[in-house]
């Protein structure tokens, strides 16, 4: 696995935030790996385990538990649309349908264990998220690290056009 020097520096810095137990750095190290590679691969798990003096299973069980870690590559722009009550009341399910049809994404294969659907060209991927803590201004979604409020279904195309 090819870990560039600046990534390694960031990883070491993250580990230094946990003077009592290196194991505490599992989440931050995985975040850094995911941010760089787009997802956490098998080698990523082994690398993190070696780096932190753990067994790979200790890292893998974390990857498989948290919805925030992915084991497959998402699209270039990854959309997380909130589906929880207040957003659903303001139309988040309709928004999801619109985003999928505009972006050419087929969600029929989505399951609990594989919640992400990717467009054929790999440009967009999408998944439902639970409450993103902006319930008064729904529907809300995250595109990569950017947050959007009041994305009514009719604004789906406009949102996608911001990312092309």
């Amino acid at each position: 696995m090819d870990i560039p020097a600046d990534l390694e520096t960031k990883i070491n810095e993250a580990i230094s935030h946990y003077p009592v137990s290196k194991r505490s750095a599992v989440l931050p190290v995985l975040h850094l790996l995911q941010h760089h590679f787009g997802f956490v691969s098998e080698e990523g798990v082994t690398y993190a385990a070696e780096k932190l003096g753990l067994e790979p299973i200790n890292v893998l069980e974390v990857v498989t538990f948290y919805p925030g870690f992915r084991q497959c590559a998402p699209g270039k722009y990854h959309i997380r649309a909130c589906r929880t009550l207040s957003c659903a009341m303001s139309g988040s399910y309709e928004l999801m349908d619109k985003l999928c049809s505009e972006a050419g994404i087929d969600r029929s294969t989505v399951t609990h264990h594989d919640p992400i659907a990717v467009s054929k060209d790999g440009k967009y991927s999408i998944e439902f998220a639970e409450c993103l803590a902006s319930c008064g201004f729904g529907p809300v979604c995250l595109v990569n690290d950017e947050f959007h409020e009041k994305v009514e279904p009719e604004k789906a195309k406009g949102l996608l056009n911001q990312y092309s």
């Binding site: 009592v20 750095a25 989440l27 974390v62 948290y66 870690f69």
Partner: protein, 470 residues
């Protein structure tokens, strides 16, 4: 609020009292330490560092401050649970997981006033004797994490963090720790496990009360973002003066987050208990949408029991018992509890008569089924079972007896689990069934009782009905 100007269209309502949100949406405000210090920022930290730690805790006790994260537990009392003869290091954790559906207040503090939180954490760490503190930020707040990291670096540079803060001899490091999209990390012991680099399986209490056995099995104080910010204002005003805000036993201000079917959803900081639900809805939030009637309200995040618009409650007022309706309920901890629900995290979700209650319950059940950590059988199986039943009702396949099954599953989760998620997941179902029973039954069909309810049953029926092959 005097001479403070707020951004166009974001002015606080006249009924608000802005303490924590004083600088939110403020004109000319930014997140830099220079801007913060210009108006007395970090003065309260300097003041507290000259006090005895116990005196700081006593001010917080005297203020009557109750936690804003969900349970409403008195903050000063919690701090006092650190064992007196403790020799292990003490840790402070700020719970910035903000993931209770309906709650959106901490995000504004993190995004717009990070130094207020850091100052609150310096004072609180000093009071409880912590030299290492973490802010557990949910992963879905990437920008907040960056803002906090920058603010922490600034505070370091100006000598408010690190070694010998402001010549007081007190050392403190604060680090940001990002979660990874799991609601259960908001539960304090799940949060601690997560911070230890593991799956966030909550720990059983007793014995694992964090104040005694928390992070790395050391005494750990976990407080919500808003709670920690209040500490700064308590030092500024003095506990006694702070306690004059709000109502007795329900002191101070708190931020109510209103979402759902209202004209003006949003965040409103008010004195606790000084505003009834009706005033919040009609005066502050501009009322319901035209032509609509109130149907139900969830007053403290989705885990709180639902209140029905025409319900009546008997509550104590002084020595008298009085009967009140939903709109008369003052939005405080004690009254909402007396009305059978809770003030929880301050997330108020309002539903009008256009909403189907089986649809709403199904949405909530989906959330809990997705977020159960899976450790306890009643919670793991029960939350999924309740979701499957309401899924079926929503798809038109429900039968009347499903409604009783829902209630019985919910009852069998409540009180039988490791953490309070069990209650959080069962209370919506038990309260919706108790209050909207007829409507839920109306969404089902007796005829479905004789039909197969899933693929396996259908296959079985087909098999049993087939003629045996000769």
């Amino acid at each position: 609020m005097g001479d403070i100007k707020y951004l166009q269209g974001k002015q606080p309502h006249a009924r608000e009292k802005r303490l924590i949100f004083r600088n939110i949406d403020r004109e000319g405000w930014d997140t830099s330490i220079e801007r913060y210090v210009k108006e007395g920022g970090y003065d309260q930290a300097k003041k507290a560092l000259k006090m005895e730690p116990k005196a700081v805790t006593d001010e917080v006790k005297g203020s009557g401050l109750r936690g804003r994260g969900g349970a409403g537990f008195p903050t000063g009392v919690k701090w006092g649970f650190i064992p007196p003869k403790n020799t292990k290091p003490v840790y402070l954790i700020c719970n910035a997981d903000e993931s209770e559906p309906g709650t959106f207040k901490d995000r504004y503090i993190l995004h717009q006033d990070p130094h207020q939180l850091i100052e609150g954490m310096i004072i609180s760490s000093f009071a409880v004797g912590a030299h290492l503190a973490y802010i557990y930020v949910r992963e879905e707040f990437p920008e907040a994490a960056q803002i906090l990291e920058k603010a922490i670096a600034e505070a370091h540079e100006k000598g408010f963090l690190g070694k010998d803060i402001q010549g007081s001899g007190f050392d403190l490091e604060i680090y940001v720790h990002r979660g990874a999209g799991a609601y259960i990390c908001g539960e304090e012991t799940g949060l601690i496990e997560s911070l230890e680099g593991k799956r966030p399986y909550p720990r059983i209490k007793p014995p694992y009360f964090p104040a005694a056995l928390g992070l790395y099995m050391s005494p750990t104080i976990v407080n919500n973002v808003e709670t920690l910010c209040h500490v700064k204002h308590i030092i500024e005003m003095g506990g006694e003066e702070y306690a004059k805000l709000g109502t007795p036993r329900n002191t101070g201000t708190r931020i109510l987050c209103v979402s759902g079917d209202v004209q003006k959803p949003g965040y409103y900081e008010v004195e606790v208990g000084k505003l009834t639900f009706g005033e919040l809805l009609n005066d502050v939030c501009g009322g319901l949408l035209p032509g609509r009637k109130l149907k139900a309200v969830i007053p403290g995040g989705s885990s709180a029991k639902v209140l029905k618009a025409d319900e009546r409650f008997k509550i104590k007022k002084g020595d008298e018992e009085v009967e009140i309706g939903v709109e008369d309920i003052p939005m405080d901890f004690d009254t909402l509890m007396a009305c059978g629900s809770m003030a929880g995290s301050g997330g108020v979700i309002i539903m009008d008569d256009s909403r189907s209650m089986s649809w709403v319950l199904n949405n909530i059940n989906n959330f809990y089924a997705h977020e159960s950590c899976g450790q306890c059988t009643p919670c793991r199986e029960g939350s999924l079972w309740m979701k499957k039943i309401t899924d079926r009702i929503e798809a038109g396949g429900g039968m009347p007896s499903d409604v009783d099954t829902l209630a019985s599953v919910a009852k069998n989760i409540d009180g039988r689990t490791i953490c309070a998620f069990g209650e959080a997941s069962s209370w919506p179902t038990s309260s919706f069934v108790a209050k909207f029973r007829d409507e839920l039954i109306g969404a089902t069909d007796e005829a479905n009782a004789s039909k197969p309810s899933n693929k396996e049953q259908a296959a079985q029926q087909r098999y049993l009905a087939e003629e045996p092959v000769a």
